[in-house]
Symmetry: C2
Subunit: 365 residues, 2 copies
């Protein structure tokens, strides 16, 4: 199989969801890079954060840079000359996988809010559907940053013994109330936009204001005060300084947020955003046992690497330290890596000088 | 003069503002507690954070608890048996002082967005108008938490030598981009509310949704992840858990934010909030010299105490450490106090067990 651009697997029949409800014949989009080896033990399954597509890296079929371009590819930390890499677009998302913006084949209508409550366990099972389709029965490693890390934990718990290795980056066993508050407020910004209309917005009147506000808050939580202090300080973007409007976006940081929020808005379906955001809040490893520890005890991977950064306010470092400690058990090698990145939660996307070697070390054995 | 409830001073004539524009005969509301002593050297001037009124403590005339009830009063850290305490409602606010919600005496119309750009220097000068009215020429100390700390710095810079002591709590010489981003987004939430109408909202149709969202974001930034982790964890408020609405506020932290945001909304005028919020972003000690250091060099207080807490994400501790270092000079006693409060920026309002003794130590001499 050639590495390629977006491919699809459609589940044959009913797909019951973790918290109730059933999807009929959902589709999961994915991309792959590299080739399965003869022993069929070189597959790496990558789950994504909330907003990316399956396009983690470029390929001849889709030369656009992927969201983890510097991590996945020939000669890259997850070396596609050696590994067969599979990245899955989350169930519930809007980049080819079935989600609230998809049409329900039973009714012919777009799901919108009739989509059942989404859980990261469902996203993990979407990944398993892709593996089944590809005939991949064992994995060299499962990898997930951010929400993808929670999904990777769900996958390991639901399908124990499938994956030799596990790499969790800037993630957690469950959300703490500070992160939940921030996500809840983002959802409320979208839901309060009069164009949201309880999810029944039209293509010509999307809740763009709510999405823009939510994205700005997202960006504030994804980066760090330390980074912005050095990068923006109190610089002014003077195109607007002199308008006399006391609320013009006159600081560079305001112009930066405006620019990036506008880039994002319109690319991501609002209902999909709401469902995936809520799934991140709902996820709790303790749902799979009497406690977080009991849930984690289901995981069978032999090699684990947990990576975090101290400037992450969304998934603070202590959550990743705890995860690494909770995963310790006889016969397992657990590595906890704290990287000195100042870009906060998003460091895994931007601080490649620190992340490349940390990821490469795990995959170079 | 008896300690009393709200009093007023109205400036006789024009009051030019720091960044241009003039107010005609503005009023400043204030409250006082205790009595001036014979030497007239026992006055303490308190500036407030963004949202409080001048009602910092109860009195026979207004027995409702004030926002700093445990700090100001007989036998309290700022002991009103010894000190003559004056708390000023900020110019631009809506609790008796002139602000965007007040009527312009020149036109008979409510100022709304015709109010000139507000600066904390103007708020400081409002305090000076109160002192002039009361015949207070020298102060035992000037005190300010949060935005009030920036206002206290402005006061000391504009009126050097007036105050023997200076206490700055959880504040800064200027806002960093992270804090500006958070405040800018709060303002945008209000301005994007269709009821805001460029400031021309009506009493029957206030931009309450924007205010509620802004207040929730404010609360997230005023407290700390650490506090909420211990206080709320992943507790559910089950009145809403079972409605089947995937976006119901089912976590305790969501219910908490909703409850407190609703309490605040309707109490504070939206335009006043916008102006004071922006004034906090605009303030920069470096506007009073070639640098922050040069601006601070104008301050003449002989005793300075700077208090901060490590869990404050809005005015991080390092800003207060820097302020204390920058204020060091021969002949001045500078004390920097780091308190182990876990309630973040708002600790000065709630963690009284730590704050009372720290404040009392400064005022007990």
């Amino acid at each position: 199989m050639a590495g390629g651009a977006r491919q699809f697997v459609t589940v044959d029949g009913a797909f019951p969801l973790h918290r109730g409800g059933v999807l009929s014949r959902p589709t999961i989009a994915y991309e792959t890079w590299g080739e399965p080896n003869r022993a069929r033990d070189n597959a790496v399954l990558v789950f994504t954060g909330l907003s990316p597509s399956a396009h983690a890296a470029s390929s001849p079929e889709d030369p656009a840079p992927g969201w983890w371009e510097e991590v996945i590819g020939p000669g890259r930390p997850i070396d596609t000359r050696r590994f067969f890499v599979i990245c899955v677009n989350s169930l519930g998302s809007c980049f080819g996988s079935t989600g609230p913006a998809s049409r329900n084949p039973e009714t012919g209508e777009i799901y919108r809010r009739s989509f059942p409550v989404l859980s990261l366990e469902d996203v993990a099972r979407g990944g398993q559907e892709v593996l089944r389709h590809l005939g991949v029965e064992s994995l060299y490693a499962t990898v997930g940053p951010s929400m993808g890390g929670m999904t990777a934990l769900a996958f390991e718990i639901l399908f124990p013994g499938r994956s030799e290795g596990l790499m969790i980056i800037s993630s957690a066993t469950r959300s703490l109330p500070f992160a939940t508050a921030l996500r809840s407020l983002q959802r409320e910004m979208i839901r309060r936009d009069r164009n949201w209309k309880e999810g029944d917005y039209t293509p010509g009147a999307l809740p763009l204001t709510g999405m823009r506000l939510a994205r700005k808050l997202g960006m504030i939580t994804y980066r760090s005060a330390e980074e912005w202090r050095g990068r923006f300080g109190r610089e002014r973007s003077c195109e607007e300084c002199e308008t006399g409007d006391p609320f013009a976006h006159s600081f560079e940081i305001e112009a930066y947020l405006e620019h990036h929020a506008n880039k994002f808005t319109g690319q991501f379906d609002p209902n999909c955003y709401l469902y995936l955001s809520r799934a991140s809040d709902l996820f709790d490893v303790a749902d799979h046992g009497a406690s977080v520890e009991a849930g984690l005890a289901r995981i069978q991977s032999k090699r684990v690497c947990v990576i975090g950064v101290a400037t992450d306010i969304l998934y603070p470092l202590h959550q990743q330290q705890e995860l690494a400690e909770q995963l310790q058990q006889p016969g397992r090698e657990v590595q906890f890596v704290e990287l000195p990145s100042i870009q906060g939660h998003d460091s895994f996307l931007v601080d490649m000088d620190n992340f490349r070697p940390a990821i490469a070390a795990f995959f170079s054995r």
